[in-house]
Amino acid sequence: MSEEIEAMEEEETKLKPPESGDPFNETEDVIYRRRSVRFYKKKQVPEYLVRRILEAGRFAPSAGNAQAWKFIVFQDQKMIEDMTEDVINVCKRVMKFTDYIDSGIKWKEWNAKLAMRFMSNMFHPIPFGAMKLIAEGKLGVWHGAPTVILFLTDMRCPGNPVLDIGIAGQNMVLTAHSYGLGTCWVSFCTPLGMLPRWKKRLGIRYPYKLVTSIAVGYPRGNPDGYVSRETQAIDWFVEDGTCKVVY
């Protein structure tokens, strides 16, 4: 084993930081060009590629090196369809009570406002809009991707295990995009962790918690590319102790 690592280390070259204004290197390019993909080819992703993507997740940093993740890979289209159907049903049920957009029914609006107050992340207008689209069948859950990877976290792990899932997931997503594959983060899978049918079938029970999922597949067209994005204010305490704001 150590011989193998030595051989790999001999191959590697020392990395150098770029000069100011240099073009993006390969890693930066993958990061900046990554776009969520919602339009996939039917062609299945070969097993070795999925294994390589999972391997990138395995080597992600985690709190106390506790590796708080468990991955479930789905390549069975029937199963993905079943899960999609159940997610749609859950969305429909939620919309029945909280659909305030052009329903004109006052009590639904009250429900939605109440939900926004107590679950302001879930009932943020953006996921709410997506939930409505899913319930109406206008938006797919996994967008017809041939491979779905579910992320479970071990809740006994140190620190914030849900954060570790995010780190591992981003490693995997960037790796997939460097192969020319497409991915999309889908957190609408979380209702499956509450349905007894799926809890039993997928083994989602303590200490495991279903956190999120990604869809993986070959994209149609060429979705990766640069776009504009809002800048965020960064407070920067410079060496003399004063604070400047950069964008």
Partner: protein, 107 residues
């Protein structure tokens, strides 16, 4: 210095059904002459805000829930799409500490 929400903001949560007042949705402009009707942007849209009419793409007229993710801009093979308005909320969910949109920068 950072912006904050006040307690009053926390109490006042709107239902976000009044477009233009409580919520400003994202907007893209599609160049109809350049559009070749491939339909990639319709599939790429995260909010089903683009539809095909007469083999040309256009934004959905009623409630285009565009989140200005830029997926359509990136996927368009003819570079016919441009983002003009970015999504914005008022009151509780308003974005704070944001600057102007920029493409990836080399410093």
């Amino acid at each position: 210095m950072p912006e904050y929400l006040t307690r009053k903001d926390k109490r006042k949560i709107e239902s976000y059904s009044r477009l233009g007042e409580d919520m400003i949705l994202g907007e893209v402009v599609i160049d109809r002459d350049r559009c070749n009707g491939c339909g990639l942007c319709v599939g790429a849209c995260a909010a089903s805000a683009i539809e095909m009419v007469d083999k040309k793409a256009r934004m959905v007229e009623d409630f285009p829930a565009c989140i200005s993710c830029g997926d359509c801009v990136a996927i368009c093979p003819e570079d016919a799409i441009k983002m003009t308005t970015f999504i914005e909320f008022k009151r509780y969910f308003r974005y704070i500490d944001r600057g102007k949109p920029e493409p990836p920068r080399k410093f």
